[in-house]
Amino acid sequence: MSERLSILKTYKLYVGGKFPRSESGRVYEVTDSKGNWLANAPLASRKDARDAVTAARKAFGGWSGATAYNRGQILYRIAEMLEGRRDQFAAEVASAEGLSASKAVALVNTAIDRWVWYAGWSDKIAQIAGSANPVAGPYFNLSTPEPTGVVALIAPQDSSFLGLISVLAPAIVTGNTTVVVAAERAPLPALSLAEVLATSDLPGGVVNILSGRTPELATPLAAHQDVNAIDLAGADPALATDLETAAADNLKRVVRPHPVDWRTDPGTDRLLSFLETKTVWHPMGV
């Protein structure tokens, strides 16, 4: 019997629940940490970024309006799917970051556990970010956290999977929709994550994943008038300054980059970064 031919995977973008190629038709070579070719990834353009924002905006109403319980369930479902494809992610992380197999497995395990941890926050975030306020009048006065809107995430460059999940999960669990710019040199785990998201009840458009040159994609996203917040985790200091300036025009919420050890307990900072507080005065029954 002859040897089987290897079947190479075509990595694609993830926009609005679909897997398009880049509008520009471009791709770029992705290599492992030693410079060996792994795959061609789509080199997304600013028009892909624009389309991704449109898709995210379209999905926002449904996702932010879903019950917290439902969002938590869907996120947990994603963790189940991730668990089933652990080996694939471990292999991709190992080649992307030059890790040993056992270290890569440990990293993927941490990432899945973190996803589950964030999934649990969906119906608990209101308890820590909301309050019942005492006021001098016959009113119930309640403050509740609401999602900010469309969030652009510049995924960390140094941690292609755990880092990505650590910025993505907290943004969507509270009801935001997102446009993710995957790590430039190691986008494959992010592009494979899209396949998991597409098969786990997450509505299309809640997460949109782009691969390409970080400055080329991040710049139009930071300037985009219909993006409400941006997480600069994967931007280098010079780029981050430019992006912050661009983001100031429509008063985006900005999370500045700072060194993080992604393996440690993340705390609630990122959960609380993309929330707005809504306060309601309700007359008390007499």
Partner: protein, 331 residues
């Protein structure tokens, strides 16, 4: 080629009178319409698709966007229309982007007949026209006297343009002369007491005409009957204006001018929502009819949500930042 005269002028009527032999009887009209060359559907679609691939950039794009804005018949045709909504739409038509005074005003506001007075009042002092849909829009299913009364009401209320629908039932069953006479009667009903007349747009509802050949026949039929504009659709059925169908209309208008010298306008309506689509139509007009038609006098878009997309594209061109729905009005 005969010299060109506008369809709404006196000379146009004389030119059409010279064609009276083809419209004298039902059988003559049928012979003429069925004698028109058939449409090569595959070629037509390929041609329309090719014209949709032009890349229009920078200054040309900016020009096209402003031109498209100035050609819009900003439309609200809902059962739920209120005077307040019509006034809001008029305000938007006069000044589409309150943050940028360089944006041109739209061509017209298109409403139901009973809203004409409201729109006319709201548009006083501006250059915008009021277009009213009439003749039992959108189905066209009413007796002729009812349709004519509908038209006269709208004209009396001050409508500058009348958008009539043809009786598709009569057209599809081959009673061409009936459709012809109906258009003639409505055209007469458009005349005001002072002798001037509201411009008449004839809607074919191409989504219900089944074939491109029928669309070509309907175009000629309406132009022979004295239409000032021919319009694809009502926007009320599932298939509205498409590039191939609009191309058939444009070619019919081109051929009609070559034959009679009468210039007729074209209005695709329904389903045109993005700037990209609008620019494709402008390319098609330029390539088929030429620059003479690239004004709001001879080409219109029947649209409502298109305007917001054009404004967002305009903001992108002027600021370099992608805009969003938060920066245009909700309507």
């Amino acid at each position: 080629m005969p010299t060109t005269v506008p369809a709404y002028g006196k000379e146009a009527a004389e030119r059409l009178a010279s064609m009276a032999d083809v419209t004298a009887t039902d059988s003559a009209l049928r012979r003429f319409l069925h004698g028109l060359p058939g449409v090569d559907a595959v070629g037509l679609q390929a041609r329309a698709a090719t014209l949709g691939t032009r890349s229009i950039k920078t200054t040309a794009k900016a020009y096209a966007i402003d031109l498209a804005i100035s050609m819009i018949d900003l439309t609200t045709l809902e059962g739920a229309d209120t005077p307040g909504k019509v006034r809001a739409l008029c305000a938007k038509g006069i000044n589409p982007d309150p943050t940028d005074r360089t944006v041109p005003e739209v061509a017209a506001i298109c409403v139901y007949g009973d809203m004409v007075a409201t729109a006319k009042e709201a548009l006083r002092g501006s250059g915008l026209q009021v277009a009213a849909v009439a003749t039992a829009f959108p189905s066209g299913r009413a007796a002729l006297p009812v349709k004519l009364a509908d038209t006269r009401d709208a004209v009396a209320a001050g409508a500058d343009e009348i958008d009539m629908v043809i009786d598709r039932g009569a057209f599809l069953s081959g009673r061409y002369l009936e459709v012809f006479e109906e258009i003639r009667h409505v055209k007469e009903a458009c005349v005001r007491p002072d002798g001037s007349a509201a411009h008449l747009k004839v809607i074919f509802e191409t989504g219900e005409l089944q074939t491109y050949d029928n669309v070509r026949r309907a175009s000629w039929l309406a132009m022979l009957a004295g239409a000032d504009f021919i319009k694809t659709s009502t926007g009320k059925v599932s298939v509205n204006a498409t590039p191939p169908v609009t191309l058939v209309l444009l070619e019919a208008v081109r051929d009609f001018r070559a034959a009679t010298g009468v210039q007729v306008g074209v209005k695709p309506a329904g389903g045109i929502r993005t700037s990209k689509d609008a620019i494709k139509y402008l390319v098609m007009v330029n390539e088929t009819l030429g620059e003479e038609w690239l004004t709001a006098d001879w080409f219109r878009f029947g649209a409502s949500s298109l305007l917001n997309d054009l404004l967002m594209q305009r903001q992108k061109l002027s600021t370099g930042r992608y805009s969003g729905p938060d920066y245009v009005t909700v309507d």
